[in-house]
């Protein structure tokens, strides 16, 4: 229960940051946080049905669900890919406009 609330809080933090923070790098932080929230949620919930890591060997083990773990490996990688691309885009925008403020950049593009 507390875990779930904390995961939701984590997700909410990321989302609120994405909406309110104008700094491009902060937005990338926010996306990373949102992604980590769902990863934690999947892994924790999938662990509810067992107590052992899904590695065969030894008898009488009660495994956790390995499927969410396999899925989350992909989600983590996708998350870092998104971060990398977001940051290089932020870098190019900074090199051109000299600021990381998204509203300021938008305003300047409007004037060009």
């Amino acid at each position: 229960m507390i875990r779930r609330l904390l995961v939701l809080a984590l997700f909410g933090t990321g989302l609120a940051g994405l909406v309110t923070k104008r700094n491009l790098i902060k937005k990338a932080y926010a996306l990373a946080i949102m992604n980590s929230a769902i990863v934690i949620l999947f892994v924790l919930e999938g662990a509810a049905i067992g107590s052992d890591a899904p590695l065969l060997g030894g008898a009488g083990k009660l495994f956790v669900d390995p499927i969410p773990q396999a899925l989350m490996l992909t989600a983590i990688v996708v998350g870092v890919c998104v971060s990398a691309l977001a940051l290089t885009l932020a870098y190019r925008l900074y090199r051109h406009f000299g600021t990381l403020d998204i509203d300021e950049i938008k305003r300047r593009i409007g004037h060009e």
Binding site: I2, R3, L6, V7, A9, L10, T13, G14, A16, G17, K21, R22, N23, I25, K26, A28, Y29, A30, A32, I33, S36, V39, I40, V43, L44, G46, A47, G50, S51, D52, A53, P54, L55, F63, V64, Q69, A70, M72, L73, I76, V77, G79, V80, S83, A84, L87, T88, A90, Y91, Y94, T99, L100, D101
Partner: protein, 77 residues
């Protein structure tokens, strides 16, 4: 145990979003990655833990630090 670590993760994330110094934010983020990795380890997910440590705490921190070094350190907004 997991709840306590998770609470720190949430706190560090909030700090990362609010910090004026972006570099402090990155450090907070990589702390959350390391802590998440330990959560995954405790939750019997060693594969995810290793990935999170290698990717979240390693690779993405490098990229974030690179981005900040090549742009600016303070969030002026």
């Amino acid at each position: 145990m997991i709840e306590a670590i998770l609470a720190i993760v949430v706190a560090a994330s909030i700090y990362a979003i609010l910090a004026r110094d972006l570099l402090h934010g990155v450090i907070a983020l990589s702390v959350t990655s390391v802590l998440s990795a330990s959560i995954f380890f405790l939750a019997s997910a060693p594969d995810v833990a290793i990935t999170e440590a290698a990717v979240g705490a390693g690779l993405s921190t490098i990229i974030f630090v690179w981005a900040i070094r090549n742009t600016e350190r303070t969030d002026r907004s």
